[in-house]
């Protein structure tokens, strides 16, 4: 398995859906091509109904493309074994309510062909990773939204896939939960796992992704490295601590002589999120 094989390769994907009106077909995805290298974190962003979910489903073999191909680590998505390397967390996941957290992870592990001691160890490992050990024997029917997301991650990762696909991973999750999920994604990237996520929460995508694609009305309208895309090219940022007003005035003069313009100075703002986290993390972990 060479590293040159991209984790995800989608080539000219087209997907039409038949609507109730016989003649007109709805073209959900219109010639999307994208490629994700191994170890990257890729974010696919777009408004609701732009074709994000359909693209993911085609990649997972849940729908068959009208035209084009999808491959995961070189294996065509329509093949069942291509999913051995993938873990998927759907949007608003529900799991079998009658199972406990541990039983759920164990069930999905069995579906991947794990068993016995190996499976048990993996279950424990996953639950520790997503921080659900205390709730492992509680029925999933009683889990909060954040816990559902985390158990979803646990089941997605149970077979140690090299690619993780996340559909709106932080939608509806409170800031603390969101932060935990983001930290998890960073940890996974460190391990070399490729992450492909879809979201319309742009702030969060910005924090986590290496590369980003914008999809709109079924077409990929922009794609590239995050840094390249959002850096405002003609501006530079400098942040000072304990600077006196006189120093700031001198820097402004320096800028003008250098042919630049001081756009703005003042106190940078922290984000409301950081404030929230700072206040609530003191009170312990969430339920």
């Amino acid at each position: 398995m060479t590293d040159a094989t991209p984790a995800v390769e989608i080539v000219d994907l087209v997907k039409d859906f038949a609507t109730s009106f016989r003649r007109r077909k709805l073209r959900a995805v219109d010639g999307v091509s994208l490629r994700i290298g191994a170890g990257e974190v890729y974010g696919l962003i777009g408004p609701n109904g732009s074709g994000k979910s359909t693209t993911m489903k085609a990649l997972l073999g849940l729908v068959a493309p009208t035209a084009g191909t999808c491959a995961i680590f070189g294996r065509d998505s329509l093949r069942v074994d291509s999913r051995q390397e993938v873990g998927f967390l759907p949007e608003n996941p529900y799991f079998y309510k009658h199972l406990s957290g541990a039983e759920t992870v164990r069930f999905y592990g069995r579906l991947c062909g794990l068993s016995g001691r190996v499976l048990e160890d993996r279950v424990g490992e996953m639950l520790a990773l997503v921080d659900l050990e205390e709730a492992r024997d509680r029925r999933v029917g009683g889990y909060s939204k954040g816990m559902l997301q985390r158990i979803g991650l646990a089941q997605a990762l149970v077979q140690e896939p090299r690619l993780l696909i996340l559909d709106e991973p932080t939608a509806g999750v409170d800031p603390v939960g969101s932060r935990q999920i983001r930290d998890l994604i960073f940890k996974l990237r460190e391990r070399g796992i490729t992450v492909f996520l879809c979201s319309h929460l742009l702030e969060q995508v910005q924090e986590v992704c290496d590369r980003v694609g914008i999809i709109f009305q079924g077409k990929l309208v922009k794609e590239g490295r995050l840094e390249d895309l959002i850096s405002i090219e003609d501006q530079t940022e400098v942040v000072l601590r304990d600077a006196s007003p006189e120093l700031v005035a001198r820097i402004e003069e320096l800028a003008v002589t250098g042919g630049a313009e001081l756009v703005r100075s003042g106190r940078p703002r922290t984000t409301l999120e950081r404030l929230f986290l700072r206040e609530t993390m003191k009170g312990g972990k969430d339920s």
Partner: protein, 306 residues
């Protein structure tokens, strides 16, 4: 590092087993199932009360034992039929609604494994429930038998003719439980199994539990006429039946299952013996349906977009 999940038969088995046990526990923990269980237990428990039956004194013990058997097998038939249809009908729509279907198919799970697991989960549930009801029925029969036996022994002690006592004892045993009765219970299971796989098939192209259930019940009732339609097609050679009617009879004969064959159960209650060969034939018929309709379900489901 060896990756698990290679596509050998063993791995199929592991996945199917996981889904089977999951379906089984899911159904067992459903409130609907509890209600049905209570219903069935009430029906069986009613055997403990002396429902008046008319019988001549010569027919010693017959009516009570016969009544217990027909009540019990009747309850088993109803319960297994409702369970087979409704439980199967709700499985796929519920997975789609809860989106658990996505998470399962996003794993390396072939769609046939998924369907097979669902079906076997229902079959396991049917087998276990029928086994429990069978035990209850045998328990009641044994209880009644021993009461009657006590009466026979009392008569013996009171000095009745040995021949008469022996005759009563033999007659009592003849009306009691035997292997044919167990065969009848197996036949109930086989019939329900056919309905379950049919319901599964219908649910692959229907999106509503209600619709699937209604159509399945319809198929069940029509299945009792299938044999008549088959006879109509085979026996009449054109006189009395128009081409259209024969064509219609043929079509329905080919599409519907033959449930009249399972009326052997009635014969067993009436006292006939069920040879093993007959049970074997019923098993072959059931097996054929299970295999074909599972594959047909796979065919439909494989083309379905989730």
């Amino acid at each position: 590092m060896r990756r698990p999940g290679k596509q050998g038969i063993g791995s199929h088995g592991g996945r199917v087993l996981a889904i089977t046990m999951n379906t089984f526990t899911q159904l067992v923990r459903m409130k609907v199932f509890y209600f049905l269980v209570v219903f069935a237990l009430i029906m069986l428990g009613s055997n403990f009360f002396d429902l008046p039956q008319h019988g001549l004194p010569e027919t010693f013990g017959f009516s009570v034992l016969r009544a217990v058997m027909s009540w019990s097998l009747g309850a088993m038939t109803l319960f297994s039929m409702v369970l087979a249809i409704v439980a199967t009908a709700l499985l796929l729509p519920r997975d789609v609604e809860d989106r658990t279907l996505y998470t399962i198919l996003a794993k390396p799970v072939p769609r046939i494994d998924y369907l097979a697991g669902k079906l076997f989960g229902v079959l396991l549930l049917l087998a276990v429930s029928l086994a429990v009801m069978d035990l209850v029925m045998l328990g009641v029969l044994q209880l009644r038998m021993s009461l009657f036996m006590g009466q026979v022994e009392a008569m013996e002690a009171a000095g009745q003719a040995a021949e008469k006592v022996a005759r009563m004892r033999a007659e009592l045993l003849a009306n009691g439980p035997d292997w044919s009765l167990q065969g009848a219970v197996v036949a109930v299971f086989l019939r329900a199994a056919i309905m379950a796989v049919l319901a599964l098939f219908i649910s692959t192209f229907s999106t509503s539990t209600l619709f699937t259930s209604i159509v399945s019940f319809l198929v069940y009732f029509l299945g009792y006429f299938q044999a008549d339609m088959r006879e109509a097609f085979l026996r009449t050679t054109g006189e009395g039946l128009g081409v259209l009617e024969r064509g219609g009879a043929l079509l329905l004969t080919l599409v519907l299952p033959d449930f009249q064959m399972f009326n052997v159960i009635d014969a067993v209650i009436e006292g006939a013996a069920m040879p093993l060969a007959v049970l074997g034939k019923l098993a072959v018929v059931a097996g054929f349906h299970l295999l074909f309709y599972l594959l047909a379900s796979w065919y439909v489901f494989a083309g379905k977009e989730v």
